[in-house]
């Protein structure tokens, strides 16, 4: 019933599809899905502004409606065309603005890959996801994968990345530790955390014109409790330093052990502190 009901609901709501991205050009649009069946969104438990008092009686033979319903089969539950799109735009401070739209994949998980680092997130009930992330390579290429078979990619050239020192860690699912930075006040450090299950953490420092000198201490931490004590951590590390080639490696951290429950699993020497040399 779901496909039919969804189409009726869309018609009842008279939802007008409005592109949230009308000011940008779609970099990749996929062909609509061929199946008539469309997933229904799981609606949040919040009050809605209307109530359906009664359902109109449906004819016992729905076959007669097929010629009406068929043209709507690639429309989402909110009446938006199912085509998936990815928009990537470069922002100041070497930031990538990413907009994912897959109206017919509401609340589904996606894997995002940038500069060889992957992390996971979940689309909204309307099948959208918007976020900003620090670029980790000048080409600004972002790949979004829906399940195993479908993916989109977008590119936005980042011009000012060479002014940044950045360290990014893409953690394996459920193993993320907290990336900590301790810096003096004259060295403003920004940290980003994106993703849900597979997290992506980035520490970013913009070299100022005065080339302030100092040290930014980096550490990894995680409270040790019954659920994490026997769990190690795995992630991919990418470090960008002005004038040096990117440094990439995989990190595997042994579990702290359940004898240490109540302590903090703190590693101060695994990540190299950022040493900034003044002019």
């Amino acid at each position: 019933m779901s496909g039919f009901r969804a189409s009726v609901l869309a018609a009842l709501l008279a939802f007008t599809p409005v592109s949230a991205f009308s000011d940008v050009t779609a970099l990749a649009i996929r062909a609509p899905l061929s199946e008539i069946e469309q997933p229904l969104p799981v609606m949040p438990n919040t009050p809605v502004g209307f109530r359906i008092q009664a359902h109109a009686p449906l004819p016992s033979d729905a076959g007669g409606l097929k010629h009406i319903i068929a043209p709507q089969k690639n429309i989402s539950a909110f009446g938006i065309a199912c085509g998936e799109s990815l928009h990537v735009t470069a922002q100041p401070e070497a930031i990538l603005h990413v907009e994912v739209s897959a109206p017919c994949r509401p609340h589904s998980k996606v894997e995002i890959t940038h500069a060889g680092l992957s992390f996971g997130d979940t689309l909204s009930y309307a099948g959208t996801l918007t976020f900003e992330m620090p670029a980790m390579e000048p080409s600004g290429e972002v790949l979004v994968r829906f399940g195993q078979e479908q993916s989109l990619n977008g590119i936005a050239t980042v011009g000012d990345l060479s002014e940044f020192t950045r360290l990014a860690i893409a953690w394996e699912a459920g193993t993320a530790m907290s990336l900590r930075a301790q810096a003096p006040s004259h060295l403003p450090v920004t940290t980003y955390q994106i993703g849900t299950d597979k997290r992506f953490q980035v520490l970013s420092y913009h070299q100022d014109p005065q080339h302030s000198a100092g040290v930014i201490r980096l550490s990894l931490a995680r409270p040790i409790h019954s659920e994490t004590c026997d769990r190690g951590a795995e992630g991919d590390v990418l470090k960008l330093t002005p004038d040096l080639p990117p440094l990439r490696y995989q990190l595997k951290l042994a579990a702290p052990g359940c004898a240490r429950i109540g302590e903090m699993f703190l590693l101060k020497n695994v990540l190299q502190d950022l040493k900034l040399v003044g002019r």
Partner: protein, 513 residues
């Protein structure tokens, strides 16, 4: 038999752990066969415990049969580094990461805890090497090396007599411990203070008195009133050991008395940076956001720990970070890693991690500024003006290389200068100074008669020149002019009123034209 003799490289420790697996090595022509127990295989060489004792065979010259034979296509180079955390925390991981990237090997770092990691280097086919890194102390590094629990020791000092004796008893081969040292990078022992502490220079005697608990207030050092909070690393750390032997002990055999100790040098530096009344012991690489204090002498010279002064060993408390390697052939990738650490790429990593590399750089005659002014001010019968004028005439059109040679005693070069011989020889061999003239200039301290000092300075300059020439075996000396000169005590760099000042003044500089 000849071939087998040629393959035999060294007799090694009979007490080494064996795999207890039998192998039979046969020469390619089938004429010679030796049976034994495989002790190790480094990807190129077999090490086998035989009835003649432990022997090493070139893998290319033999075929291996028996249950103990290694899988030649699946060899993984296992290399263990052990020693001071001052090298193991940051420098060695950074060098391994850079080495892997340059060899297009992917890298996985498996972290057991803050002091124990395994770096797995792989190509697209398989794992090629495992570099195990254990960070503890210099003493443990030597102990692991002697016990064959490590292939490379990371150390901050040369071995003491008991370590040399142990090494000699474990391995009486001609490759004694001190022949296997090399300086990887440089650091400087320093005192640190907060940026807003007005006292930014101390004498070594001041430092000694502070850490002996004899000077308690900044006002005694020319600062404003305020109790000194003296911080130090733990007593068994390499930094404290070095301070005790090179600074505190100069004022008598006194223990370090501090308000607090910090096992983590970063924590120590952070606390000092935030407390205007604190002073800390540390190194230039770990100064963090605190300020390195200058060392001053009674005659007015001040020495600052910097890249330039550490490279030239013009700072008295230069701290060489050294590798000592095991007395056996290391796997190919380990040898390639060691070669990489002497490359310009490694120099860049060393600088980026806050240490000082040993790249050969130049500075102009005009940088002599203060030294020359001091020399002119102190012209005397021992250091006459004509000699100073000859110095100016000789060096004015030249530039000074950062490579400088200093002596432990008499004419014995210190460990950093031995590395400098190798570095300069390498530069000569690669033709870097072809078409140029290198002048080795000897200087002395001011103790004793000036003429004797000048003779000794010339003797040292000629000695260094000879060592460099000998080390640069394949250099084309038709393209390079090497000569020696000496100016004795006319251009001191530090005050002659202390041992450290005199040791700074006894030097051979190299000037390029």
């Amino acid at each position: 038999m000849t071939k087998m003799k040629r393959m035999l490289c060294a007799a090694l420790l009979s007490a080494a752990p064996a795999f207890a697996q039998d192998v039979s090595l046969t020469s390619r022509d089938g004429a010679i066969q030796i049976d034994g127990t495989l002790m190790s295989y480094d990807g190129e060489f077999y090490r086998v415990d035989t009835i003649y004792g432990p022997l090493t065979f070139d893998g290319e010259g033999v075929t291996c049969a028996g249950p103990g034979c290694p899988d030649l296509d699946a060899f993984i180079a296992d290399v263990t580094f052990s020693g001071t955390r001052h090298m193991g925390d940051v420098l060695i991981p950074a060098l391994i990461q850079s080495f892997a990237a340059r060899h297009q090997l992917s890298l996985t770092r498996e972290v057991e805890d803050d002091t124990h990691s395994v770096f797995v280097l792989s190509d697209t086919d398989r794992v090629r090497a495992r570099f195990t890194l254990r960070s503890s102390t210099t003493a443990e590094g030597y102990a692991d090396l002697i016990a064959e629990a490590a292939d490379i020791a990371m150390v901050l000092r040369e071995p003491n007599q008991s370590e040399l004796d142990l090494a000699q008893s474990a391995d009486p081969s001609p490759l004694s411990l001190n022949k296997r040292a090399r300086v990887l990078a440089l650091d400087g022992l320093i005192a640190i203070a907060a940026p807003d502490q007005p006292v930014q220079a101390l004498t070594l005697a001041n430092l000694s008195e502070i850490y002996a608990g004899e000077v308690l207030d900044w006002s005694e050092l020319g600062g404003s009133d305020g109790k000194i909070l003296a911080l130090a690393p733990p007593e068994n750390s390499g930094i404290s050991e070095a301070f005790l032997s090179r600074v505190i002990a100069q004022g008598g055999d006194r223990p370090i008395k501090t308000a607090q100790t910090h096992a983590d040098p970063d924590d120590l530096a952070d606390q000092v940076a935030q407390d205007a009344f604190a002073i800390g012991l540390g190194t230039l690489s770990t100064a963090g956001n605190a300020v390195p204090m200058r060392l001053k002498g009674a005659c007015g010279f001040e020495q600052e720990a910097s890249v330039t002064t550490l490279r030239a060993e013009d700072y008295p408390l230069t701290l060489p970070l050294m590798f000592y390697t095991a007395p056996r052939r290391l796997p190919l990738l380990a040898r390639e890693f060691l070669a990489f650490t002497r490359s310009p790429a490694a120099d860049l990593v060393i600088r980026r991690t806050g240490y000082v590399d040993q790249a050969i750089t130049v500075s102009g005659f005009d940088t002599l500024g203060d030294r020359l002014a001091h020399a002119i001010t102190n012209v005397s019968a021992e250091t006459p003006l004509p000699e100073l004028q000859r110095l100016v005439t000789t060096l004015r059109d030249r530039v000074r290389l950062s490579t400088t040679f200093r002596f432990e005693s008499g004419v014995r070069l210190d460990v950093q200068s031995n590395e400098n011989v190798a570095r300069l020889a390498q530069a000569l061999e690669t033709g870097r100074f072809d078409g140029k003239s290198l002048l080795f200039v000897g200087f002395s301290d001011g103790q004793g008669p000036a003429s004797a000092n000048k003779d000794l300075a010339r003797q040292r300059a000629e000695l260094v020149l000879g060592q460099v020439r000998e080390a640069a075996g394949v250099a084309d000396f038709r393209q390079i002019e090497l000569s020696a000169d000496a100016f004795g005590e006319v251009l001191p760099m530090a005050c002659d009123d202390s041992d450290w000042g005199r040791s700074i003044n006894r030097r051979v500089e190299v000037w390029l034209e």
